[in-house]
C-alpha cells in the first residue's frame, strides 16, 4: 500500500489540477456546446433542437453588428498596437537616457483594469466637459469631438482606449526580441555600410517573425474577448452601435433569458479563438521539440 502510494504520488498530486480543468474547462465547454443545440430559453432544456440557435444567431441584426464591430475593432487594434509598439521598441533600443522611466510609462496601463481605464477615457471623451471643451476653451470655437455619443464613430473611441492600454505590451515583446539579437549581427551589417534604417528594416525586423506572430495571437485574443472596456466606455451604445460578441453573449444569457442563443454565440467565439490559437500552440510545441 505504502509502496503504491509512493510510486503514484506524482500522479495523485497532478490529479486535482487535471480534474478541475477537465471539469471546469472541457466539461463546461461541452455543456455549452450541447445547450447551443437545444431550444433553451430561461432555463436549460436538454432535448436537441438542431442548428436552430445558430440560424437565429446569424439572422439577428444585433449579432451581425457585433461581428462587424469586432472585425473593425480587431483590424484597427492590431495595426495601431503593432505599429506603435514597434516604433517605441526600436526608438527605445537606441541607448536612450531614462529608458527605464519611459518603459514604465508605456506599460503602466497594462497594470490597470479596463474598468478603471474605461472610466477615465469616458470622462476624457465626454463632449460637454472633456477634450472638446478643452479645445474650445483654447480658442478653437468650432471644435467638436463627440465620437463617444456618435453612432458612426463610437467604435473608434474603443479603439483609442484599447490601443492605449495594449500598445506598451507589444513594445515590451519587441524590445525583448530586439535585445535577444546578438550584437555581432548588427555590427557586421554596419561595417558593411548598412545604415540604421536598413539594419532594422532588412535584418532585425525580419528576424522578429516569431514576435509578430505572438503579438498577433495575443492581440486577436484580447479583442475577441473585449468586454470590460465596452461596458465601462459605452455599454454597447449609443443604441447597439458598439456592441460586440462578448457583450452580446452575456446580455442574451443573463438579461434576456436566451440561454440557447447565448450558448451558440459563446461557441462562435470559442471557434474564432480556436482558429487562431491551435495553429499557434502547434507551432510553439514544434519549436520547443526542435530545440
Amino acid at each position: 500500500m505504502f509502496k503504491w502510494l509512493e510510486k503514484n504520488l506524482p500522479k495523485i498530486v497532478m490529479a486535482p489540477a487535471v480534474g478541475l480543468i477537465g471539469w471546469f474547462v472541457y466539461g463546461f465547454v461541452l455543456w455549452t456546446l450541447y445547450i447551443s443545440f437545444t431550444n433553451s430559453k430561461i432555463l436549460p432544456k436538454y432535448e436537441l433542437w438542431g442548428f436552430g440557435q445558430y440560424e437565429k444567431l446569424w439572422a439577428s441584426r444585433k449579432w451581425l453588428i457585433s461581428v462587424d464591430n469586432l472585425l473593425v475593432f480587431t483590424a484597427l487594434f492590431l495595426i495601431f498596437c503593432i505599429v506603435i509598439g514597434i516604433i517605441l521598441a526600436i526608438f527605445l533600443d537606441q541607448k536612450i537616457r531614462a529608458e527605464g522611466v519611459l518603459r514604465t510609462i508605456y506599460l503602466y496601463p497594462m497594470a490597470l483594469s479596463f474598468i478603471v481605464t474605461g472610466t477615465a477615457w469616458k470622462w476624457i471623451l465626454n463632449p460637454t466637459l472633456g477634450i472638446q471643451k478643452m479645445f474650445i476653451d483654447w480658442g478653437f470655437e468650432n471644435f467638436t469631438f463627440d465620437w463617444l455619443v456618435n453612432r458612426e464613430m463610437a467604435i473608434y473611441t474603443i479603439v483609442i482606449a484599447g490601443v492605449w492600454q495594449s500598445a506598451g505590451f507589444v513594445m515590451a515583446l519587441f524590445l525583448a526580441g530586439l535585445r535577444s539579437v546578438e550584437d555581432e549581427i548588427v555590427k557586421a551589417a554596419k561595417i558593411d555600410g548598412a545604415g540604421l534604417f536598413t539594419v532594422y528594416w532588412k535584418i532585425l525586423l525580419p528576424m522578429m517573425r516569431p514576435v509578430f506572430f505572438t503579438s498577433f495571437v495575443i492581440l486577436v485574443h484580447i479583442s475577441i474577448k473585449s468586454y470590460d472596456l465596452i461596458v465601462a466606455l459605452t455599454q454597447g451604445g449609443p443604441g447597439i452601435s458598439t456592441t460586440m460578441p462578448a457583450l452580446f453573449m452575456t446580455q442574451a444569457a443573463f438579461h434576456k433569458s436566451q440561454v440557447g442563443l447565448s450558448a451558440a454565440s459563446a461557441m462562435m467565439m470559442f471557434m474564432a479563438v480556436a482558429a487562431v490559437i491551435i495553429p499557434y500552440l502547434y507551432s510553439e510545441l514544434r519549436r520547443e521539440n526542435a530545440r
Binding site: L20, T104, I105, S113, I115, T119, L219
Partner: protein, 301 residues
Amino acid sequence: MQDNLQSSSYKELEQKSKYTNMFLRWFLYFVLILFASYFIFPLYVMVVTSLKTMEEIRQGTLLTWPSSLNFDSWLVAWGGRGYGAGDTFLRPYFWNSIKMVVPAVFFSTFIGAMTGYVLTKWRFKGDQWVFLFLLFGCFIPFQAILLPMARTLGTLGISNSVVGLVLVHTVYGIPFTTLFFRNYYISVPTELVKAARIDGAGFFKIFFKILLPISAPIIVVTVIWQFTQIWNDFLFGSTFSFGEAAPIQVALNNMVLSSTSVKEYNVDMASAIIAGIPTLIVYVLAGKYFIRGLTSGAVKG
C-alpha cells in the same frame, strides 16, 4: 594596414553624419516624449480631476491644475457621505476584493507549483499531453463557461459570494500558474533531483528542500500575475456576484453608471484611482517581475 584604412574612413563618415545624428537624436526623444505624454495623459487627468471641486471642473479644462489639494472626493469615494440608503462607496467592496484575491492567489499558485514540479521532475508517459491539456485552459474565451459555471455555483450554494469567486479564480488561474512553474522548473537541472532520489529523498522532501528554495523569482512573477488578473477581473465578478458580495471593479462600474443625481466626475475619478492603485503600486515596485510574467507567459491577454 587594411584595418587602419577601414577605421579611418569609418571615422570620416561619422564626422560627416554628426549633424544628421544630432537631428535624429532630437527627433527620437521628441517622438518618445510625445508618446509618453499620450500614455500619461489619462492618469494625469484622473488625478487632477479627483482633486478638483465640481465648480472647478465646470470652469476649467481637463488639464487645469486644481486650485488646492482637495481630497474630499477621495473620502466620499472611499467612505460615502454618511447618509443611509443609496450612499454607495468603495470601502466594503475593496475588502471583498482583498478577501477574494488572497486565497485565490495562494491556492492557484500552490497548485501551479505542484503541477509544474511533477510535469518537469517526475515525468511520466504522456506528460506532454497533460501539459497541453492544462495549457489550453489559458486560451478559452470565458463566455464558453459562464452559463454552466453560474449553475454550478448555484448548486454548490456559493453563487453571489466571495467563496464562489475564489473558486472560479483559482480554477481558471491553474493553467497560467502551471505554465509559469513548468517553464521555470524545466531549466533546473534534473540531475539535482536524481541525486536526491538516490539519497532516498521523497517527493515532498525534494520539492521543499531543493526546488522551493530556488523558486523565489517565479513565485514573485506568478503571484504578481495572478494578483493583477484577479484584482482587475470584471467578467466573473459582474456575472457571479452583485450587491454586497461584489468585488471592487464591479462596484466601481456600478458607481460610475448610477445616474441617480448629478454626475460627480471628481468622485468617479477618485473611485477609479482607488480601484487601480493596488495593482499600480505592485507594478511600480516590482515592474521587472510584472513584465517577465507578461512576456514569458506571453500567451494571455
